[in-house]
């Protein structure tokens, strides 16, 4: 097995074959095994479209997408690909199928024809991992947004995927729910070795990633560690994106003539730099 789990090669795609506008216009990207990658971009930049290609929901017009070396255009591999790459969407209400939490978590395994006793074990395991085991007999509509989204994550994790794609999975949640979901995801990434690709609008979430991809108008325009990307404040702004508050503060301070070190993107590092400066 190679180190890269997801590969896109010069990927082109448009929703309407009669329009000249490409949603993805020659995207090449790679995601390494075990990595946490954040994908940023203004609305309509093609980031969700890219995510759907990694799961064979959409197929490229030209170019190739490989998941663990499997071509997504290969129909025989469709269910292998979807088992390898799990996807969580924005609205938790629209991805929960069953009326009881544990039955929803079991849905993917039921589809795959997993035997009953193994299914029971895997369902319990993934509910515990997502921290929703205590709600297993509840009806999903009685849970909070963060809990519902963790039900959706558990349902995907039960398939034992190697990679998890989150398509703005925290966008509809309140700050508390968002924190719970991010904790769960970081746990899965660190302790279970699941590769995570997170599409997000929250810069604080992106700052915690291993690597950041910034997209604009169907292209990948910036790529690198959060420090590398967010240090280029002006460029990030020109793409209609925010930078984390700490990076913004550092930038303003430098403009005001205060010598702050480079690469500050989170509150802790910023506070530390200010503390050292004031001493």
């Amino acid at each position: 097995m190679s180190d890269t789990i997801l590969t896109a090669e010069n990927l082109k795609f448009r929703y309407d074959a009669e329009q000249p506008v490409y949603a993805l216009d020659g995207v090449s990207a790679q995601v390494k095994r075990g990595e946490f990658v954040a994908v940023l971009g203004a609305n309509g930049c093609g980031k969700s479209t890219l995510a759907k290609h990694f799961n064979a929901i959409l197929l490229p017009e030209s170019g190739k997408v490989y998941v663990e070396g499997m071509d997504t255009a290969d129909e025989d591999k469709l269910y292998d690909i979807r088992q390898t790459v799990g996807m969580v969407f924005q609205n938790p209400d629209n991805q929960i199928v069953a009326t009881v939490v544990e039955e929803d978590v079991a849905f993917a395994l039921e589809n795959l024809g997993v035997p009953q006793d193994e299914m029971r074990r895997r369902v319990d395991d993934s509910m515990k991992m997502a921290g929703i085991y205590e709600y297993r007999e509840r009806a999903p509509h009685n849970l909070s947004g963060g809990q519902k989204q963790r039900v959706a994550i558990a349902g995907v994790v039960a398939m034992r995927p190697d990679c998890l794609i989150l398509d703005e999975a925290t966008a509809m949640l309140d700050p508390r729910g968002r924190e719970q979901v991010m904790q769960t995801i970081h746990y899965l990434n660190r302790n279970m070795g699941i590769t995570v690709v997170s599409i997000t609008h929250y810069m604080e979430e992106a700052a915690q990633a291993d690597r950041v991809l910034v997209m604009s108008k169907g292209h990948v325009v910036m790529e690198g560690t959060p420090k590398e990307v967010f240090s280029q404040t002006e460029k990030v702004r020109s793409l209609h994106l925010d930078v984390p508050q700490a990076a913004e503060l550092r930038d303003e301070l430098v403009k005001a003539g205060i010598p702050m070190p480079e690469g500050i993107i989170d509150t802790g590092a910023c506070a530390q730099a200010l503390y050292e400066l004031l001493q």
Partner: protein
């Protein structure tokens, strides 16, 4: 306001009736309906109602729930009773003769029997929905209809549709509530005015509701595809319905009761 609606009116519990295998419960309910018509003499009906009363007692469903379930069908019961009262002609002298209306003793008898029978029928089927959650009932229907699958009847698809519909009822109710409030905030008058005005005022509620329902359906379909949904073939279940010893005992008791009721009709046809 809309949040109070409960569909299927299920009363969770742990009684014998609740735990009874839903497939057998469903079949027995149908059998009970047949029985109500087969055992048409007063004695048979009385015994049937007695049996139902005992079942309600065992299930610990409050008696006033029977009244509640009968209330909406009261007009139908009265209508059938009145029709029977006037249009059944019997032998002997009429009890009342007034203008073109004639009431015979036979008519009174039929009217009462019919009304009682319809009420018992509703109370019996209500017991099924009171003691079985809709999702379990869907499962039972899927299993019972399985033989039809051989005739290319889409059993799995039907059950899937039913369970998704049940899953989305609370979600859509919540959404309707939100849309109604949003329209009220813009000055829509949903609760006042003439009937026609109120119906017209519902249009701006229904259109956004439909559009959002379609969007939800689209997203749900994609989420299901992502979780490898590919129809009913090769599917396994987390929870499989299994008949235990207790279920067979319950079944035997019910069949015995039904047999006694039926026998009473044959032995004492005139009572």
């Amino acid at each position: 306001m809309l949040r109070d609606i409960t569909i299927g009116q299920h009363f969770p519990g742990n009684s014998l009736v609740h735990r009874f295998d839903p497939r057998l419960k469903l079949v027995l309910t149908v059998a009970y309906i047949v029985l109500l018509f087969a055992a048409s003499n007063p004695l048979g009906l009385t015994l049937s109602i007695l049996f139902l009363g005992v079942m309600y007692k065992v299930a610990k469903i409050p008696v006033k729930m029977i009244g509640k379930s009968l209330k909406p069908i009261l007009p139908i019961v009265l209508f059938t009773a009145v029709l029977n009262l006037f249009f059944v002609s019997g032998e002997g002298d009429p009890l009342v003769h007034f203008w073109f209306l004639t009431i015979y003793a036979e008519g009174v008898r039929y009217a009462v029997l019919m009304a009682v029978r319809v009420m018992a029928l509703i109370a019996g089927t209500s017991l099924l929905t009171y003691t079985t959650s809709p999702i379990v009932l869907t499962d039972a229907i899927e299993q019972l209809l399985k033989p039809l699958g051989k005739l290319h009847f889409p059993v799995h698809e039907l059950a899937m549709m039913m369970s998704i519909a049940l899953r989305f009822i609370p979600t859509l109710i919540e959404e309707t509530d939100k849309i109604m409030n949003a329209q009220k905030a813009r000055g829509a008058q949903l609760d006042t005015g003439k009937m026609t005005d109120r119906v017209k005022a519902l249009v701006p509620v229904l259109i956004p509701l439909f559009i959002s329902a379609f969007r939800r359906a689209d997203e749900l379909a994609m989420a299901m595809e992502c979780r490898c949904y590919r129809g009913g073939t090769g599917r396994t279940r987390l929870k499989v319905l299994r008949c235990e010893k207790q279920d067979y005992i319950d079944l035997a008791v019910c069949i015995a009761c039904f047999a006694v009721i039926l026998a009473s009709r044959l032995v004492f046809p005139n009572y």
